[in-house]
């Protein structure tokens, strides 16, 4: 039965291929061009003793002026400077942390790249190094920005902004396969606040470019700190930002956070990319689904997930 299906599908696909050859997929070993005017980019190589640019991945072709590269169907996260990432502390060393950001290597967070409580003018002392675990300990989640890349591709992070730092009051979701496939795509906004349904208050959704996602209760920022102005904002950084204690969260808010998580997992399962548009629309659909039955089921696996994806595709 499976065979018949795949054969039928093959025929369908062949018809489509005639319709648009841009649907073509490059696979490893496919020669892209032997014309020497093009330059090779990521996902390509030139075999020894030839001059033909050959694909080394399964994916689609991209052209930037004279540069040809292959965009993979799926790949692990590859850090780039400026990326907003969610990470988890794996190891604490003398002056730095090692952070899992789903890349080929662990990222590095120097103690000099974080905001220490007590303001920007405070001198970093050995005491800070001795109590390094009081800022981040193993297993802590944080949001950071990629500051620089090393020769071997490892990333250095920084959290020197009030937007970044330790994560609390929420739930973590990991989505595999960034850069293509059903994963997080780079977009204008990775972090937004949305109004939860059913009186759940506001929730923050943070889509790390590396496929790690954090959904949390929205906490209004301290009014006094905002009034102090940008220059003095960092001085008001208190040790509270490194607290691992959650605020009080209502049960309704927790439910809406869980619903949002179900939506993201359903998007991934059905091969829909994860961005602000799909998550907000998916969430609204899911709220509607929830009103259909009395028990308000927030589970969106299997058939319900397929329905959600279909509703999103149909607009």
């Amino acid at each position: 039965m499976l065979d018949d299906e795949s054969v039928a599908q093959d025929e369908d696909d062949e018809d489509e291929e005639q319709g648009d050859a841009r649907d073509e997929i490059l696979t490893p070993g496919t020669v892209i061009t032997s014309n020497s005017q093009w330059m090779r980019g990521h996902g390509t190589y030139v075999p020894l003793n030839t001059s033909s640019i050959t694909s080394s991945l399964a994916g689609t072709l991209t052209r930037t002026n004279k540069l040809l590269s292959v965009r993979p169907l799926r790949a692990r996260y590859n850090p780039e400077i400026g990326d907003l990432v969610v990470g988890r502390i794996v190891e604490v060393q003398a002056k730095r942390w090692r952070v899992d950001v789903a890349a080929a290597q662990l990222a590095i967070l120097q103690i000099s790249a974080i905001n220490l409580p007590g303001g920007i003018l405070r001198k970093r002392t050995e005491t800070d190094e001795l109590q390094i675990r009081s800022f981040f300990a193993e297993g802590d989640l944080l949001v950071a920005e990629v500051q620089q890349l090393h020769q071997d591709g490892a990333a250095s992070l920084h959290t020197r902004s009030l937007k970044y730092g330790k994560l609390r009051n929420g739930v973590f979701v990991a989505v595999a396969g960034t850069g293509g496939g059903a994963g997080v795509v780079r977009s204008k906004r990775q972090l937004w606040t949305m109004e939860a349904a059913n009186g759940g208050g506001k929730i923050d959704v943070l889509l790390g470019v590396n496929g790690y996602i954090w959904i949390s209760k929205h906490i209004e920022s301290d009014a006094a700190a905002e009034a102090a102005g940008i220059n003095r904002m960092e001085e008001s950084v208190s040790s509270q930002i490194y607290s691992s204690q959650n605020n009080h969260i209502d049960v309704t808010t927790m439910r809406e956070i869980a619903r949002c998580r179900s939506v993201i997992l359903a998007l991934v399962e059905n091969g829909v990319k994860v961005d602000e548009d799909t998550v907000t629309r998916g969430y609204n659909e899911a709220v509607e689904f929830g009103r259909e039955s009395m028990e308000d089921d927030i589970y969106l696996g299997g058939e319900r997930g397929q329905r959600l994806a279909a509703a999103l595709a149909g607009r």
Binding site: G29, A58, R71, P72, D152
Partner: protein, 274 residues
């Protein structure tokens, strides 16, 4: 004698009804597990294997030492190292034999796959990291190493690790025994367990559509004059397997484009040559 080879010369049909150069049914799926970096499932006849690729990722503690790094194999310094684990399920063959982690035959298969991958993957792009390939054998009916290699290729492609070309493998055997002295005897393609027990055979793996041999394993005694014929048939079988696997990858890719998960190509590769 489980297989009466003398009947082959009468009807030219093998025990399962195939001709000498027929492959068994090959069914494969790519990206079978959402949580994995790369995964695949492959059936060659009744041989069924699945593969999960993790990485390139930071080496696990304790994994750093004792693994055969790709550094020596590729001549590149500090490339990603490749670790291959094969687990054979107890229920996979007829006799329920428990095979430990240190089984020699399994270790040899692991090393064969690891060496083939190290020479083929572009590991220099991922320094200080590890690529872990876990293979599970669910059912065995001959051509096990070939099935493992094919499943690995699919899973590595799914993981988006750059590689030179597909490595595809299959087995080839020879119907003639030395005593028969039958020089015109047909070589056979893609052997099942019964044939493997009865006949001399080899496993051959090639790189893409070329005739470059990446893997060649022969454990039985074969007459030298038969070897060339077996190799030719095996290489030809590898090309057939490559076409099948390529079709599966492309079908998956088109499906992802249709779902909107992947952007289309900016332009056609053909138009670049002008």
């Amino acid at each position: 004698m489980p297989l009466d080879t003398s009947t082959y010369s009468l009807a030219l049909l093998r025990i399962d009804g195939r001709r000498w150069n027929d492959l068994r049914r090959l069914h494969a799926q790519i990206h079978t597990q959402d949580a994995a970096d790369g995964s695949s499932y492959l059936e060659m006849g009744h041989t069924k294997v699945m593969c999960v690729v993790t990485g390139p990722a930071e080496p696990q503690a304790g994994q750093k030492k004792g693994t055969v790094g790709s550094a020596q194999a590729t001549g590149q310094k500090e490339g990603a190292s490749i670790v291959v684990n094969v687990v054979v399920a107890g229920f996979s063959s007829v006799d329920r034999k428990r095979r430990g982690r240190n089984d020699r035959r399994i270790q040899e298969m692991e090393i064969t796959i690891q060496k083939a991958l190290a020479a083929n993957l572009h590991t220099h792009l991922f320094p200080h990291s590890t690529i872990t390939v876990s293979l599970h054998v669910l059912s065995q009916d001959g051509s096990l190493l070939a099935a493992l290699i094919n499943a690995t290729t699919l899973a590595v492609i799914d993981a988006g690790i750059p590689m030179t070309d597909y490595i595809t493998a299959c087995t080839a055997g020879s119907t003639s025994s030395y005593a028969a002295g039958d020089d015109a005897a047909d070589p056979l393609l893609d052997l099942n367990t019964q044939e493997e027990q009865e006949l001399p055979y080899l496993t051959v793996g090639t790189l893409g559509d070329s005739d470059k041999v990446a893997v060649l394993v022969c454990e039985s005694r074969v007459q030298v004059s038969r070897l060339e014929g077996m190799l030719v048939v095996g290489v030809d079988g590898c090309k057939q397997v490559r076409r099948l696997l390529d079709g599966i990858v492309k079908q998956k890719g088109r499906k992802m484009i249709k779902e909107g998960a992947v952007r289309r190509s900016d332009m056609m590769a053909v138009s670049l040559d002008d």
